[in-house]
């Protein structure tokens, strides 16, 4: 018995000793063991940007990136279901789609909802993050030690981008929350920001674009062959500014900018024929104000794959033909049969497999929704859906016709100059020129101008804004059969996830009516 308790005592002591050793060891060793994690293929925040090339790469990756026109989801100007131009044109009398994916019906039938399962109307709200990335980029460049000249130039480009993106979001959703650099630094602060109201939003966009222009750091325009072709220009900044003023019905300001852009120092000219604007041979032509540049490898545009149908003849047999987007027959039929633009808005073709003639009367399975908006030329090297053709974002014909509109609206009278400007695109299509006498009143002119712009810019992303400006967006939606179109739909709904997020901070940021 005695022996036993003695042994137990030893055990107890042992336990104590072992525990103390254990605790001591852990304290000593854990403090001196240096555990290492490495990601070898990243750049850590504190190392960047150090050089001018670094800062330039940062601007490419965070400032230019949203404006690309690549494959699925790459950039605002991709031509898939997340493409800005495609999605907004689908809501108008110019767009329809033969596919059945969930993104299309709510856009086509103007049934906008914050919970639309295809997110067609709500998806662009996420570009809010890109505005903040630009804000942080300006901070990073400013605090880096690169040469001042480079700082100025890169910041001018960034501010141009920020103004442009803010305009695009403003046009879609109305005022948006704009964060200050300090609000972006601490992810543990989780508070929603109120939306910037209309007037402040305009001031913000104007301020950004003007800052870029007034810095004198941007070139007026680049021509094909220029080393910096594809970078933002004064021409681009002015174009966006003009669109903002048109949106705000500031006709005089819009007119001033329109005239500025007609100045020879920009070198913009209309191409002789409509279809030559969009071919590979004429890529980067003088009509282009800014294009999302593609090479078919690093960045591929995919237009033909989206619109051509099986059986539509192409020289390059590899071109993918999904046969999606269409211009509804109702709009197609508004064209004069001699209109040369119909060369690339195809209402009839011979099926290369069957020899059958496919057209409005015999639409088969490829033209049942409307005409095929071929528009762009072929890429002879395309291995499928990829195309090396630049996707034109803004072109001079847009400026010319907007200027015509601004002049008439400002004066509330049709002038010869306005008619001449409209004729620049009208006669290029091979149709008899308008005469001043053709228009009995300004409204008649504006109606004709709206139609002319429609015929000129199908699937170029101007139709929704045009119709809203002319007060016809909802009317036209109803005319094409929308049972849901309502006046509040001139603004798109804020996505429900962002609305729920703001509710957590106590307020509703949704646009009225939704």
């Amino acid at each position: 018995m005695k022996n036993k308790s003695y042994n137990l005592k030893i055990e107890k002591q042992m336990k104590k000793i072992i525990f103390s050793i254990l605790i001591l060891m852990t304290i000593i060793i854990s403090s001196c063991i240096n555990l290492e994690s490495e990601l070898y293929d990243i750049i850590s925040f504190d190392m960047f940007p150090k050089t001018e090339a670094d800062a330039q790469a940062l601007v490419t990756g965070q400032v230019y990136a949203p404006f690309r026109g690549g494959e699925w989801g790459v950039g605002l100007f991709n031509v898939g279901a997340s493409g800005l131009f495609v999605c907004t044109d689908m809501t108008t009398d110019q767009g329809d789609c033969q596919w059945n994916d969930v993104v299309w019906p709510d856009l086509i039938t103007v049934n906008f909802r914050s919970t639309s399962p295809g997110n067609g109307e709500t998806q662009f709200y996420s570009y809010l993050r890109d505005i903040s990335k630009m804000t942080i980029t300006i901070e990073n460049i400013n605090s880096s030690s690169i040469p001042d000249a480079a700082k100025k130039r890169l910041i001018a480009e960034t501010r141009c981008a920020r103004g442009w993106l803010a305009y695009i979001l403003y046009d879609l959703y109305g005022g948006i929350p704009i964060a200050t650099p300090d609000q972006l630094k601490d992810p543990s602060v989780d508070v929603a920001l109120p939306r910037t109201t209309g007037k402040d939003m305009v001031t913000y966009i104007e301020g950004e674009l003007m800052a870029a222009i007034e810095s004198k750091e941007l070139k007026d325009n680049y021509q094909k062959g220029d080393n910096e072709y594809g970078r933002f220009t004064n021409g681009l900044a002015y174009t966006v500014l003009m669109k903002l003023y048109m949106h705000e019905k500031e006709w005089a300001k819009a007119e001033t900018i329109g005239r500025e852009l007609m100045s020879t120092k920009y070198g913009y000219e209309l191409m002789d024929s409509y279809q030559s604007i969009f071919t590979l041979e004429n890529e980067k032509n003088k009509e282009v104000i800014w294009a999302a540049v593609a090479d078919g490898k690093t960045i591929s545009s995919m237009w033909q794959a989206h619109v051509l149908s099986s059986g539509y003849p192409t020289k390059n047999p590899n071109i993918q033909k999904w046969g999606g987007y269409r211009v509804p027959w109702a709009f197609y039929n508004k064209f004069d049969t001699n209109d040369k633009r119909l060369n690339v808005l195809v209402g009839e073709y011979t099926d290369e497999n069957t020899g059958e003639i496919i057209n409005q009367e015999n639409p088969g399975t490829t033209l049942f929704k409307g005409a095929m908006p071929v528009k762009y030329g072929e890429d002879p090297n395309s291995p499928g859906y990829e195309s090396q053709l630049d996707w034109i974002v803004y072109r001079y014909a847009d400026i010319v016709t907007l200027l015509s509109e601004a002049i008439v609206r400002k004066n509330n009278a049709v002038t010869q100059e306005a008619v001449d400007l409209l004729n620049m695109v009208h006669t290029r299509a091979g149709i008899t020129a308008y005469k001043l006498a053709d228009f009995s009143n300004p409204q008649a002119f504006l109606d004709e101008l709206l139609l002319e712009r429609g015929k000129e810019f199908w699937f170029e992303g101007v139709r929704r804004t045009d119709l809203i400006r002319h007060g016809k967006y909802i009317e036209f939606a109803k005319a094409k059969g929308s049972a849901t179109a309502a006046p509040h739909m001139v603004l798109m709904p804020i996505p429900q996830w962002a609305v729920d997020e703001a509710a957590k901070s106590g307020f509703d940021i949704q646009n009225p009516g939704y």
């Binding site: 042992m14 490495e38 070898y40 059945n100 969930v102 960045i299 509703d508």
Partner: protein, 700 residues
Amino acid sequence: MISGNYFIQNGVIKNNNLDRVTSRINIDQKLSEKVKTGINFTISRNTFDNVPLGSGQNENAPILVGAVQFNPLLPIKNENGEYQLNPEAMYMPNPVSLLEIANVSIKERLLANVYLEAKPIKNLLLRANFGVDRNYQKMKTYLPKTTLPGRMQGGKADIGQSDQSDYLLDLTATYTKEVEDHTFTTMVGHSFQQFNWENLSAGNSQFLTDVYLFNNIGAGVYPKPWVGSSANKNEIASFFGRINYSFKDRYLITATMRLDGASNFNKDHRWGYFPSISAGWRFIDEEFAQSLTKVLSNGKLRIGYGVTGKSNIGNAAISFYREGNSSLFGNEVESKGVYMAQLGNPKIKWEQNKELNIGLDLGFLNNRINLVAEYFNKVVDGWLSQRSLQSYMIVSQVADNIGSTQSRGFELTINSQSINRRDFSWSTDFTYSFYKDTWKDRGPYWKPSTYSIYNAPLRGSYGYLSDGLVQASDMDANGKSTITWMPGVIPGQVKIKDIDGFERNEDGTAKVGSDGRFIKTGKPDGKLDDADKVFYGSNDPQFIFGLNNTLRYKNWDLNIYFYGQFNKLNFGSYQDLWLTGANGMTGVINIYRGYNMPTSITDVWTHDNSNATRPGFFQDKSTYGIGDFYLKKIWFVRAQNITLGYTLPENIFFSNTRLYIDINNPFILTNYKGLDPETDSSVWAYPNVRTVSLGIDINF
């Protein structure tokens, strides 16, 4: 000991084969009375031939999707000997052509452990173990020009390989002491693990000929062949101690303490303490139980509580840029971009899994019937996951310890040796388990939807309630919908219920409650939105059981194993979803392309079959979806295995010879109408196989 194993299996689908070689070597060597060493090696090599599988659509249609959708009236090859394409879907490859794709993946693994054990003094065991775990994987693909995607790209070759080297060092000291009825075991140790990973990939296209496959990628003339590589390293270190104490094997106590450090956390949060304690009581050995031993032959109560840690969130504490987002400037020269890829959260720390276990082991009638009952309650505190950031933040999410979850369940196992006679025996194993995983604390960053439930199951589904099909009687004289909350719907589409709405302020904005969520009125508001969505239920099965019976009569033996799952949510089988759309395929509307349809198409609503039970041809035009139209709770009971054997009487050549027939997956009972309620991962699932094997076991 040295062993080797070679195994070949051909898939039910062609070109879907597996070939495996494994080899194992174990060597133990006594260096002296007190020192022992040993080495064990496992080497395996798996080679897979892969055929494209999955649920991709259109140009990405893999073999099963293609086989389902391809127009059966078309020949496999046309008069030129090329694979026929469907003129109504020229982008979809001919499914037979996909068999020409060469796709080989190789997985090699080397597991090596060396240990050294020493007993310097009595009762003390020192052990050092060093291990290497190397995983090497390689995937090689060639799309030949005879396939549609291969033709367009002039043949396309890809090679990717990844290399993982994990090192483990384990040092332990164990001291055991027995004093009469008391047994003590004390162990302390340290372990260190390093994980290294790297990969390399390359590819090219536009080949002159298909003959090289992926074995000459330099021969392609694509202007920008692709290459890629990446690498990372992580480390984990631990210090641990354990004390076991038992008295007469009747009372058992184990206490452990771990200190774990993970390199992916910031220095201040790197280390976590994880204690655990468990106790066992063999009450059958107590005196009061002795009177019961005729009936009760085993009785033990177990209880344990422990905390373990998890750090598997990646390198989420650091902020970094990645290269990408290239643009083209000048003469279309690529300009590499750099963008913020991750916003780090330096505050993240170990996730703590706190688990309570209570178990009861009972044996009856000399252990002819055994029962094990187990209850567990696991709380995960500081769950490591991603949380969403505000819509204006530069990235959409950040890692965090976002809240707690709770997992509770019960498991029961019963073994019974019901009959055990010389000529006849029958034994049964039954298992039953039931668990529930729910949210316990959503944390401060939770941004709920209107329909979210605070304590909801971790894996749950939400959506609209359906209300049959829209009929012609729902339309007014102008053909407009009279279902006010669904303007624009047409007959044959699924009708969705409007059950609730939001309270509005005078300016039309929705009212927000003090909990940061919109207030609902409880009344239909003529609109379909989040207010009308409801919780459908947990996606997990409610309970699972297994039942194994073994019977033996003289030389015959029979084994049948059943298992089943009950009350699992299912959103429709191929019979349903090929018609309404799934995985990007938009349903019955595609019949004009010649796609095959399930026989259930006869139930599709049409104007002259308005009593039909299934949504019509234009369901895809309704973006309100089908709600819970096909939602149901499914169950199944599967006979997993039936084996019938006959043992030959002993003879002079063989001591024991058994012939048997084994049927794997012979039948299933279920209320699910698709291919298989358990293995259908989508409506384009790989079929579950039934195997019949005949065998003979010979012992000399």
